[in-house]
Symmetry: C2
Subunit: 413 residues, 2 copies
């Protein structure tokens, strides 16, 4: 089974938004055994949408569209589908009742005709009830190709995928099992890794695909395979991983599918019953934000201090002025003092601290742009390392966050 | 001039990464007057890439490809381009010298044959030197269609766009001026806004396009137009904006293109010479991270406390236990005490505090999932408001961050 995803909206083609819907849909389709052949983003334009529908039908058994289902005039997906299917719009009573209910219960503003018109659907469509909004999903079929139209609002699209689309596709088709396992590595470039594991790579079975994904100091190695026998597919991939890991044990930190690095750390801290606090200067709260993005963070994450201004490092975290004068605010010594300061103030077992210069100017410190010091305080030790992370503000802070996770992870396992 | 963007990589089609490159390229092309007709994401597959090149050539004068230029075996864009152009690979001396230089200066690891082979380029290609990496960009032409192949690493792609692609396209073609102006609103749904401004919308000139972009409590209204006379296009859009703003003055907060909300706030704080601190519970550091993502944040942002654990609210921010016992940790009173606490501790003029329950469980508080209290402390006042932001963790915190910016913005202008 091949799928194509068509995302509709001028906002995508002028670069006003990043299309995150298609990545979500691709990932979820993969989980139930549907491969995505192509993703196509098109304008809110009748002729262009019609052309995309015709092209997609040539490649794919399943075509999933998102966007263009809103109540305003720029939304034309529904009328274009009616034209493509040579159909007419009919009022769906269940959707009318649902819209009236959400306006009465949640929105509490006048119900306009354009809102009620969201209940107009093509007569040939099977309606997919959208519990989170007023635009229903629609399931239509033409010559054995399935066309599914979903709202572009990510939350509504995701709920419809989980509650309607994925269960219906799984029930209707006998789908294979697709497995991706991604090994996270830190410390070597992709070509050096490829050189080191070339014998292993050259002997991979035909049915196993390998990809290298470099990203700001990390390289991810992805192994993929599929088949109708789930345990055979898993055994095939796991046998290759068992051969690979001993060759990269110095740079291997975990599997991406299991969880992100911050989740791996969080789960381990919960397991060993330890807590964490952060003292963030150049990372400005990003480390805290990434930990607390995960449910259950309150079981190990106490919080932290965003010590952006130098005075906060001294007055709140208790770093001494003398230390800063002697070593500069971006130094191993100050990073360590920040980690110890927040560890004491917050009563945590572990602490992470960052101090650096993300540019564009030198700022309070004498440190070159890109210099970052990261410290880790453990229950009975503290250490710090200095890094140079280039000249680009966002890359510097992202690399600092990645490196902070990497250093902390090594201490708690 | 129409462009098509082709992003290449299995990681996109299995949903392992979100394709952010195409949004960047679209935005930058728009700025120089090139419209993007379509974005297509395809697999690392020879036949599929060839098919995408042929299809794109029908729509577009300019085809920009990203991805598949790495040194490992899964990268096949270059060999596929050679096939499409019926060409051969030749070694480029300038690229060889560049690769040797970066290995000697920065990488300091053995230079492998696969790294040197990055200097092999199609003989018909004009090389675009990649100062940030080893894979050069390539510019090729076929029957008046330009094909530009760029690395998939965002940082390298962006540098090549800025230094090579955009200047060359601007020099080669007489391009129109494209203008997008986006009004940020907060407080009303898109259909209510559309109803209110329908007379204005119905009388828009043909050459002005309007789009509604709803997003977690905000609706953005985008006006677009293009033409060869820049001042005429600007006058056309500005005249419509002048008519629109009086009709939405209660919900209008600024223009997106000028800057993000946090930049608007930051610039204003710099202008009025005031400082800011944050006390974040449920937002976990995201407000601080968003302010500090912008250069110059140190001119107004002192830092903050991530008070995730209840104890941190009392012990670090000085919120009294009695207050928490009486009102619950998620309450207007505690939010206000947090804002005042961090304002005092950090010596800032303004402070923002968040306390809420982002779920999935009730946690330390009695508050329902989705309840968030946000407080703003000003130099001579403090106030707080309570919100209910649904049930989805990421949406709750995003809405809380948006609302914190909205409340603060109103106080400083």
């Amino acid at each position: 089974m091949n799928a194509e995803i068509i995302t509709i909206g001028d906002e995508i083609l002028i670069g006003q938004i990043v299309d995150t819907n298609s990545a979500y849909i691709s990932k979820e389709l993969n989980k139930i055994g549907v491969s995505v052949f192509q993703i196509t983003s098109v304008q809110d334009d009748r002729a262009h949408i019609l052309d995309a529908l015709k092209t997609a039908k040539k490649h794919a058994n399943i075509v999933i569209l998102t966007g263009g289902l809103g109540p305003t005039k720029d939304d034309i997906t529904k009328t274009t589908l009616v034209e493509y299917f040579n159909d007419t719009l009919v009022r769906n009573a269940e959707v009318v009742a649902h819209i009236k209910h959400i306006w009465k219960t949640y929105i509490k503003q006048p119900l306009l005709q354009v809102n009620l018109d969201q209940a107009l659907v093509p007569s040939k469509a099977k309606v997919l009830m959208n519990q989170s909004g007023s635009a229903p999903g629609m399931w239509m079929e033409k010559d054995k190709t399935i066309f599914i139209s979903l709202p572009g609002v990510p939350f509504e699209m995701k709920a419809l995928m989980q509650n309607e689309v994925l269960p219906k596709l799984s029930a209707q088709f006998d789908l294979p099992f697709i497995l991706h396992k991604t090994l996270l590595t830190y410390g070597l470039g992709e070509s050096v890794i490829a050189d080191r594991i070339s014998d292993w790579e050259n002997n991979l079975p035909e049915s196993v695909k390998l990809a290298y994904l470099p990203n700001l100091g990390r390289v991810r190695l992805r192994l993929s395979s599929k088949g109708y026998n789930k345990s055979e597919v898993m055994d095939l991939i796991n046998a290759q991983i068992d051969k690979l890991i001993p060759q990269i044990s110095d740079i291997f930190v975990g599997f991406e599918e299991d969880s992100s690095m911050e989740q791996i750390i969080g789960n381990q801290l919960i397991k060993i019953e330890k807590t964490l606090a952060v003292a963030e200067s150049c990372t400005g709260g990003r480390i805290g934000a990434q930990f607390t993005a995960n449910p259950g963070a309150s079981r190990y994450f106490k919080g932290g201090v965003i010590a952006y201004d130098t005075k906060i490092k001294t007055e709140v975290l208790g770093v001494s002025d003398v230390l800063i004068d002697r070593h500069s605010v971006v130094s191993l010594e100050v990073a360590k003092a920040m980690a110890l300061g927040v560890q004491k103030l917050f009563g945590s077992d572990y602490a992470v601290a960052t101090t650096g210069n993300a540019g564009p100017d030198k700022g309070d410190s004498d440190a070159d742009v890109g210099t970052v010091c990261i410290a880790i305080a453990t229950p009975n030790n503290v250490f710090a390392q200095q890094f140079t992370f280039g000249k680009h503000r966002e890359r510097i802070t992202t690399k600092a966050v990645h490196m902070a996770f990497t250093l902390l992870q090594k201490e708690i396992f």
